[in-house]
Amino acid sequence: MINYLSNNSDIILTALRQHLYLALLPILIGIVVSVPIGYLGVRFPWLYHPLVNTCGVLYSIPSLALFVFLPVVLGTKILSPINIVVALSIYTVALLARTVADALRAVDRTIVQSATAMGYRRFRRLVDVELPVALPVILAGLRVATVSNISLVSVGALIGVGGLGQLFTRGFQLFYLEPILVGIILSVLVAGLADLAIVLVQRAVTPWTRYQHGNGGAA
């Protein structure tokens, strides 16, 4: 294993870099897209159920099917990394848009009413009050999306772009265990670190959640 690592460090690092790029760019796109969509699902209640159902259907499409279907729809080359980025963005939005809607719906009405009474307009109230209060739930959804994105990227190796997944296909073709093990370990490690990073961000930006147990759950 040590030998394999030192002899192939270039290949492994390139694969790792591609893996990170392919997994994290869709997360950023997903956040930017799903916050407004989730908000619309709350602002217009008749939109909520169609939104949840669409997200459910999109999320249930198997990744390999989506990877090979997108080039037909987008007109991209089958080997283009854009397919992977778009597919994973779709999964991220399918998961997060619903989470954002649920989190905003769960915000205590009295908090919203107090903010309105203090003179907050709709947009300022959303940004300054409702979203911060909903943040712990949204970030919990983000953790799920990030971890599953990182493990899904490797399926892309079957169509030639898959970050660490390329180590799997290489090992499989050569009937050689090391690359597969290194790929799995790195992938799980990256997922764990990304998960931890979100937890730390959450602790930093929502300090009030830590006092909840002490004073009877005022949030």
């Binding site: 259907v57 198997p62 099917a65 989506l66 399926v155 296909t169 597969i180 790929g183 992938s187 997922a191």
Partner: protein
């Protein structure tokens, strides 16, 4: 979009090897087997941990660990270790089924209202009766959502299994890509996506059917309608 492969009646012969119905059937076979074995293993363990509270650490982390395991890597690891064939693939699929079912069985049992369980005990129910007639039915909605997640994951991974020589609908994707037959790839993608959505809908219906109407709120809705 070129739908010629999907719409060609020659690819829909029931008995021809490699036809769409045959691939669909083998795909469903892998999914059913993995779900069955995974449930038999994970359900009792999850219920036990949820019922006793012992080992909650395992149940909480199983879900996260399962999500972070790259499915393609797991498949190729198993095949490289054990050789080609159904067994290594089934092991990989089963490993993916266990975490969501284990975690949801545990979560379903943990979120129960403790007063309901006390009431059941107070009515003289034995521990086994409390488990089978109170706790399990009440944990079912959460449990079913975990089961549906597991089913989706297995349908998707069984597709990937074609890359390690198995049949199933992934054959259309892998073989189509290998010979640049995009019509075949598209047919595979559409049928797999339709299968995943149909299975999820089916399990949603099963869930509606087996979850007590008193839990899902349907009784309350009916009562409201009756009074107005």
């Amino acid at each position: 979009m070129n739908l010629s492969y999907l719409l060609d009646p020659a690819h829909w012969h029931l008995t021809a090897p490699g036809s769409l119905p045959q691939l669909l059937l083998s795909h469903l076979g892998y999914v059913a087997l993995a779900l069955l074995i995974g449930t038999v293993i994970a359900l009792p363990v999850g219920l036990y941990i949820g019922h006793t509270g012992r080992g909650s650490f395992i149940a909480i982390n199983a879900g996260n660990a399962g999500r972070s395991l790259p499915t393609l890597g797991l498949l190729m690891l198993m095949v490289t270790l054990l050789g080609l064939g159904l067994t290594p693939v089934l092991i990989a699929l089963t490993v993916l089924v266990i975490p969501p079912i284990l975690t949801s069985a545990y979560a379903g049992m943990r979120t129960l209202d403790q007063q309901v369980i006390d009431a059941a005990r107070g009515m003289g129910m034995r521990p086994w009766q409390v488990l089978t007639r109170v706790e399990f039915p009440m944990a079912l909605p959460v449990l079913m959502s975990g089961f549906r997640n597991a089913a989706l994951q297995v349908v998707a991974t069984a597709t990937v299994a074609a890359a390690v020589g198995l049949n199933g609908l992934g054959r259309l994707l892998i073989d189509g890509l290998a010979v640049n037959d995009y019509s075949r790839v598209l047919a595979g993608a559409i049928v797999v996506a339709a299968l995943a959505i149909a299975l999820d809908l089916l399990f949603a219906l099963v869930q509606r059917w087996i979850v007590s109407p008193g839990l899902s709120g349907r009784v309350r809705a009916r009562a409201r309608r009756a009074t107005t």
